[in-house]
């Protein structure tokens, strides 16, 4: 499974290690790049206390699998792995893990960056933040 969407808190380091062990590709990859997106306790200069992440079940998984396929066509990578959590978050909770493996480092970096940028622009997730003064939907992601 290259894509996991879960409503449970996850440990990104455990997930990436488990996936890498399952790859059984020791000695083939020289580079692994990971990106971990984590909930901050501030956004646009305002304290954020909680966050709820909504998604479109089915469409999310479909598009995450699509962007992984695209990355594999564009770069010579051995594998890629995405975990994205949904539901209720507190500051410090991991939101997303993107991991890429390749023989040489350039491919792993570039594919990793591609995956998170495409995820942020195409995968149907929506964030709603709880502030001191109420709640607000995040209207758009910050550009790369």
């Amino acid at each position: 499974m290259n894509v996991i969407v879960t409503d449970k808190i996850f440990d990104p380091w455990q997930e990436v290690q488990r996936f890498q062990n399952d790859m059984q590709a020791d000695g083939q990859f020289g580079a692994c790049v990971t990106f971990i997106g984590t909930m901050r306790d501030f956004n646009e200069n305002t304290d954020v206390q909680k966050m709820t992440l909504e998604h479109y079940p089915g469409m999310t998984e479909k598009h995450l699998a699509q962007i992984i396929d695209e990355a594999k066509q564009k770069w010579n990578i051995l594998d890629a792995f995405i975990v994205h959590r949904v539901g209720d978050f507190k500051p410090g909770d991991p939101i997303v893990l993107v991991a890429t493996w390749s023989a040489h480092r350039a491919e792993a970096y570039e594919a990793n960056r591609y995956l998170i940028e495409e995820l942020k622009s195409r995968a149907p997730f929506w964030k709603k933040e709880t502030l001191k003064e109420g709640t607000r939907w995040v209207e758009h992601n910050t550009p790369a």
Binding site: Y56, M59, T60, V96, L119, R122, P124, H140
Partner: protein, 77 residues
């Protein structure tokens, strides 16, 4: 034909509903589905639409059994 309409996130809250089943007659577009589902509500700027979980534009034609979703810009990651 039957169309399964879905609303997400701030649009879902605004509509007070996560969607509905629509019975429509004849050849219809995504725009027509929006109009029928919302009683011709004004469409929010930046609204995104998908048919059967693929992004489409408002002129796309729908067919019986399609799932048509409307939602605001995505903010995952």
């Amino acid at each position: 034909m039957t169309i399964d309409v879905k609303f997400f996130a701030s649009l879902r809250e605004k509509m007070g509903s996560d969607g509905q089943q629509l019975d429509l007659a004849g050849l219809e577009t995504v725009q027509a589905v929006w109009d029928a589902a919302t009683s011709n509500a004004e469409m929010p700027v930046n609204l995104l639409s998908a048919v059967n979980m693929e992004y489409v534009d408002l002129n796309s034609v729908v067919k019986d059994g399609d799932e048509v979703a409307f939602f605001p810009p995505v903010t995952g990651g």
